[in-house]
Symmetry: C2
Subunit: 311 residues, 2 copies
């Protein structure tokens, strides 16, 4: 019995870095249009809560993503703090060129681990999509920026179903070969469970060092926190999360929200892992943006803490 217990009580990372993707990945997937000032205020509240990495906006054509049409204005409106890294998503060279004058610290490029998803989403093969990124990565590096690669559909795909770890292996290798510095392994549709996620992560770690691999999980099937825990057991210590679970309303049909930052922080602090984040201020940020959207936070910790405050 003790042997069994000890097997699972090995050391976890002592510190975890969370990247709040709420302002970008979150708000991009909300139907409501949020104003520029509110977006900048959200970023301000997140950094006040202690977030050191924030994905602020994307430089994608407003034809496709009207929610992010004010990207330059948002970047200008954010009151930057020293020590905080601000990243933006860029789909191509045009996006990078638009992003550079706004002085991001990092840019995010993306590829899928599923050919079916790549074809449906960006109308080309995975290999083609990464070839197209190569000059974007080079230009970002020339501008002194770090490049994060987001690998979507790393466990499952809405079109092809299961995605094999071999595909993660292949695409992670391709992303590394074009110079991507960091790999974010994303279970975009939230179907993964711990062993599948660990298998995907194991392949990612063949191509990127531990410190440059992060996990990105969605709570569609409620599995996100458990998958983060399974990653912690592998030593992975960086995760994306979205304040208030922005990115999919839990009450709506086909909800696909990101894991809520508040829920992740509660778990990490409970595990004795440092995050540098003040949970109460983070709950405030989630309550603020949820108020703007006119609904309760999708974060269960957010709801429980707010209910407790009301007594």
């Amino acid at each position: 019995m003790n042997a069994m217990f000890n097997r699972s009580s090995g050391s976890l990372p002592s510190r975890v870095t969370l990247v709040d993707v709420g302002p970008r990945d979150g708000l991009q997937n909300e139907k409501a249009q949020v104003g520029t000032a509110e977006k900048a205020q959200l970023v301000g509240m997140l950094q006040a809560a202690g977030l050191k990495e924030i994905e602020v906006t994307s430089f994608v054509s407003p034809k496709w993503i009207p929610q992010m049409a004010d990207n330059t204005a948002v970047m200008a409106a954010v009151e930057r703090r020293p020590g905080v890294r601000y990243s933006v998503l860029v789909p191509n060279m045009k996006g990078l060129e638009a992003a550079l004058p706004t002085r991001p610290d990092e840019v995010v490029v993306f590829a899928a681990a599923s050919e079916a998803f790549s074809q449906k989403n960006i109308n080309c093969s995975i290999a083609e999509s990464i070839e197209r990124f190569a000059p974007v990565v080079a230009a970002a590096h020339e501008a002194g920026l770090k490049v994060r690669g987001a690998l979507s559909c790393a466990v499952g795909c809405p079109y092809q179903g299961a995605v094999s770890p071999d595909e993660v292996d292949r695409v992670a290798g391709l992303l590394r070969s074009v110079g991507v510095d960091h790999l974010g392994v994303a279970d975009t549709i939230g179907v993964g469970t711990p062993r599948q996620v660990q298998a995907a992560m194991e392949r990612a770690l063949k191509h990127f060092p531990l410190v440059e691999v992060s996990g990105h999980f969605h709570d569609t099937y409620g599995q996100a926190l458990t998958n983060i825990y399974a990653c912690l057991e592998m030593g992975i210590h960086s995760f994306d999360a979205s304040v208030a679970g922005l990115g999919g309303c839990p009450y709506a049909k086909g909800a696909t929200g990101n894991v809520a930052t508040e829920d992740v922080v509660f778990m990490l602090h409970g595990l004795g892992i440092e995050t540098g984040i003040d949970l109460d201020l983070l709950v405030d940020a989630g309550a603020f943006i949820s108020g703007v959207l006119g609904r309760p936070p999708a974060s269960r910790v957010g709801r429980a803490v707010l209910a407790k405050r009301q007594g």
Copy 2:
């Protein structure tokens, strides 16, 4: 890196037993009054989905728990299936005497690991509450029934805050000493995270064999599935869960719902663990009772599967 990965990929149990406590612990904590026929239909749908253990009702004074006043009628209305175990909660000898003619397979008694909770909830010390149970346990055994002990507030208490593993150790020992056969370790207020839960479980396992220890988690702070996963890593292979997350509306202030059976089954099946449960039929059961209550299921798997069915 591989060593790290292997550490966390040890074998998990190949099979897990879930006890659906929705009809009792779930409906008891819902504000809406559900009819006897609907309760029996819920039990019928759960067993059709493959549940082999169901907590059907409680024999507590209707003054305290009006939702369970139809306990005898519900037990009579359930069309029993061979191989399914039906349990009922009994707070005292009067409850047991009322329960016995309804022919349950098991009875559940309860104690708290928190003195403050015991005093507030049942107005006596933990030791006194267990002394009072002793004859109930003996009488249940005499009637050929198995006795499950539910140990509430095993990690945290709404009145005293943190609960130490030493208290779990002490109360688990007391419950064993009066002949309780099985210990259900319950994080009643849902504040636990994996290491705290493992510490409580470790103490429970000092007094009960692995096969007679189960976990009972609430999703108030979204931690339930991760805690179940942490228990699986210890070899624990029986858990309470509540279809549709019955027992606390996720939209309400101070939500304290049980972990949803659907979410647990999704994780277990993803881990390759057998449950004998048909997830689609389970989602049907959750949709049925949620319809009776007039709200969407609190299970994220339930909502995602229902959304997918609608296309």
